[in-house]
């Protein structure tokens, strides 16, 4: 059942069966209700999540402004990558479900372990994460520019 859900993700389709199996072994399905906090900024890491359905907001607490949503994520998006990166280790944002949400969680520590043990699989996992981080970085830069205050039509 969980394996089926994983297999539907365009991303896992390309995996070799053995690799796929290793990922299934460390995966668990999670659901959150609307408004439920998934983790807080600064929490110790535990899981990397892949959203199956629903919507999750990544938030940062800004003094005097409260929780500000900096990004929302939906179907097939990954979040919680900071937990997999050894140098970071803590959550860089908070996460909250804005809709009832179903996701698949991968144990961060074990993800690192299987990557170490099998570099082919590790390459696959880290390439995927790098892509996600690169996309977020590029989007964040654009957000930083505050482009709507520039000239627009």
């Amino acid at each position: 059942m969980l394996a089926d859900k994983l297999r539907q993700n365009p991303w896992f389709k390309v995996l070799k069966p053995a690799h796929f199996q290793k990922l299934v072994e460390i995966a668990t399905e999670v659901t959150w209700s609307e408004g439920q906090t998934i983790f807080r900024e600064g929490d110790q890491h535990d899981y990397l999540y892949l959203i199956v359905e629903g919507r999750v907001a990544l938030e940062k607490y800004v003094p005097n402004q409260g929780q500000i949503t900096i990004l929302t994520l939906g179907e097939n998006d990954l979040f919680g990558w900071s937990g997999v990166m050894p140098v970071i280790g803590t959550r860089t944002t908070g996460a909250r479900a804005v809709q009832p949400t179903v996701a698949i969680g991968f144990d961060s520590r074990r993800l690192r372990e299987i990557s170490e043990a099998d570099h082919d699989l590790g390459y696959f996992i880290f390439r995927r994460l790098t892509n996600v981080i690169a996309g977020r970085l590029s989007a964040t830069r654009l957000q930083l520019l505050n482009m709507y205050s520039q000239s627009t039509e």
Binding site: G135, Y148, E153
Partner: protein, 290 residues
């Protein structure tokens, strides 16, 4: 690959002198966002009011005697040229003075000017319309056109972005657009807890779509940086340059190709633009201070 032809019209203008405006009365003011309002204009002259026509994407020059003149896109339905709308953001001198005007005030209007969104040559294709901030205003006439001829288009997606939820343009119309089988994706750059929609810059929303590069046409208008990233996302999805249309903005004084201000390389954005296909602007799009 078919090259989409762009339509242009010459200015419809009663006066032999293109620089002399016609008069029009503000008949309605509708507030859209803290610094944005939509003005309904009605030409004083009956004949002009009846004859006036425009294409989606074109703009008018609005003149306030003693203050100045600005280029403002037409944001209403080209199928109902009698109701002429302009959505204007308060940005400086003239737009600031406009914001102080009341219903019933008379201003000068001349136009329409410039090139149009190629709505006709986009028929039979999927269409992605991407508007950032006030950039949705010049796209709305194209949206109305598409709705009027919905059966002629494939999948239609509208992507509307703004800085904050309160800055989104025309939010009350999104449901009506959806009723015509149009997917409307809305996103903001930042929001507080009460916002349940998307947060993330406009180009990121491309990850929520699976456009078919072989038959997709893009119309985009918004901050130049946003358009640049929209173009990159579109190209990454194999949408050909000839089918990506951007609307560019430069200082404009005359709108008829005399004043030189709106030049963009070989183009006068008031004549060949503001709407241009990406293959034509590519050589200059990333040149600094061009």
């Amino acid at each position: 690959m078919t090259v989409l032809m762009q339509q242009t019209t010459t200015a419809l203008n009663g006066q032999a002198d293109a620089m002399v405006p016609e008069t029009a009365v503000i008949t309605r003011i509708q507030y859209e966002a803290p610094d944005i309002a939509t003005y309904t204009l009605s030409f004083t002259d009956d004949h002009i009011r009846e004859q006036y026509q425009f294409l989606p994407g074109q703009f008018n020059m609005l003149y306030l005697p003693g203050i100045g003149e600005v280029a403002i896109s037409i944001s209403s339905d080209p199928g109902q040229p009698g109701t002429l709308l302009h959505t204007i953001r308060e940005a400086g001198n003239v737009t600031g003075a406009l914001a102080k005007l009341k219903k019933g005030a008379t201003i000068g209007v001349r136009g329409p000017y410039g090139s149009a969104w190629p709505v006709e040559s986009a028929e039979g294709k999927d269409l992605i319309i991407v508007g950032g901030g006030i950039g949705l205003a010049p796209l709305r006439p194209a949206i109305y056109h598409v709705i009027r001829h919905r059966e002629k288009y494939g999948k239609v997606t509208i992507l509307s972005g703004a800085r904050e939820p309160g800055d989104l343009l025309y939010p009350d119309e999104y449901d009506a657009w959806r009723e015509h089988g149009i997917e409307v994706i809305v996103t903001v750059d930042r929001a507080d807890k009460n916002w349940r929609g998307n947060v993330g810059v406009v180009p990121m929303m491309f990850y929520k779509m699976r456009p078919d590069g072989r038959k997709t046409v893009i119309f985009t208008c918004g901050p130049e940086i946003m358009m640049r990233f929209v173009v990159y996302e579109a190209l990454a999805r194999r949408i050909p340059k000839e089918r990506i249309f951007v609307s560019l903005e430069r200082n404009m004084k005359c709108a008829v190709g005399f004043c030189g201000h709106c030049q963009y390389g070989p183009f006068f954005l008031c004549k060949e633009g503001p709407v241009l296909s990406y293959d034509r602007v590519e050589p200059f799009f990333s040149v600094e201070e061009f």
